[in-house]
Symmetry: C2
Subunit: 159 residues, 2 copies
């Protein structure tokens, strides 16, 4: 890409209004600490109200509010179930939308592991297929692993 093209891209980028930014929209849904940590817990397999509250370290009031919002937004579903001989209970299960947040959670955890852990990262994700550790990475659709300096940020071309 020559200089003229590059300057054109840059001009487009500056004209682009941040309100349509999907990061900002994502933050409208999972922009609070408690929401992120609840989603983390859900991925760890937590399904019950008081487990969320206890393990995330938030009060029941906050847990109730956040869980309701996350259900409303479609990241979790609240489903009744009953074990034999027990009364009906409810559990919060991940939807596809909630499950698809895992790359973001993984990437965040990795970054925290790299720069903010005192010692060794306390938790690893492993691939059930081969047992190898799992990590988030950035790749292009051609399959090339992409180094961060090799990424161009540009507004989607108009058609």
């Amino acid at each position: 890409m020559d200089t003229v093209q590059l300057e054109g891209k840059l001009a487009d980028l500056r004209a682009w209004t941040p309100t349509q930014c999907t990061i900002a929209r994502a933050l409208d849904v999972v922009g609070t600490r408690s929401a992120i940590l609840i989603m983390r817990e859900a991925h760890y397999g937590t399904t019950r109200f008081d487990e969320f509250a206890r393990r995330v370290g938030i009060t029941e009031a906050v847990a109730a509010a956040r869980l309701r919002e996350l259900v409303d937004a479609g990241l979790l579903v609240k489903e009744p179930y009953r074990e034999p001989g027990q009364r009906t209970r409810h559990e919060y299960q991940l939807t596809d939308m909630g499950r698809d947040l895992l790359p973001a959670l993984t990437a965040l955890m990795q970054w925290g592991d790299a720069y903010l852990a005192d010692g060794k990262p306390p938790l690893v994700l492993t691939h059930a297929g081969c047992g190898a550790p799992v990590h988030a990475e950035v790749r292009c659709t051609e399959g090339h692993a992409v180094d961060l300096p090799d990424i161009l940020v540009a507004p989607r071309p108009r058609r």
Copy 2:
């Protein structure tokens, strides 16, 4: 992995205290909307104080506070520079620590694109090498693309 092992892992997981969670630590640094959006802008090439404030849509007071925190945390550096004939100005540049946040930002954007955009995602990242779009994904160190249901979450084994 058999059932006994799996239950062992699960027991470990329940005993694991969330305070050491590096996601929580990451949120101590970039847990606010403005911090995330400022880091997004930095990746888009924004370097100047008032550009951050304007493009993120926050007041100068908030921009000043957040930029100071991000510099203190090591995600940005504030550097003096001068163009010929101009007085000295300052610019905020990404550090390695800040740059390494890109996978998390990319993953978040992707998730927003998938579930929260009205139409087409407004922005794409492309690989400078081949021009193909770039996306965040989860892989194991063996190089296998990992489907989300195939991920095991487990505490790091003690040594």
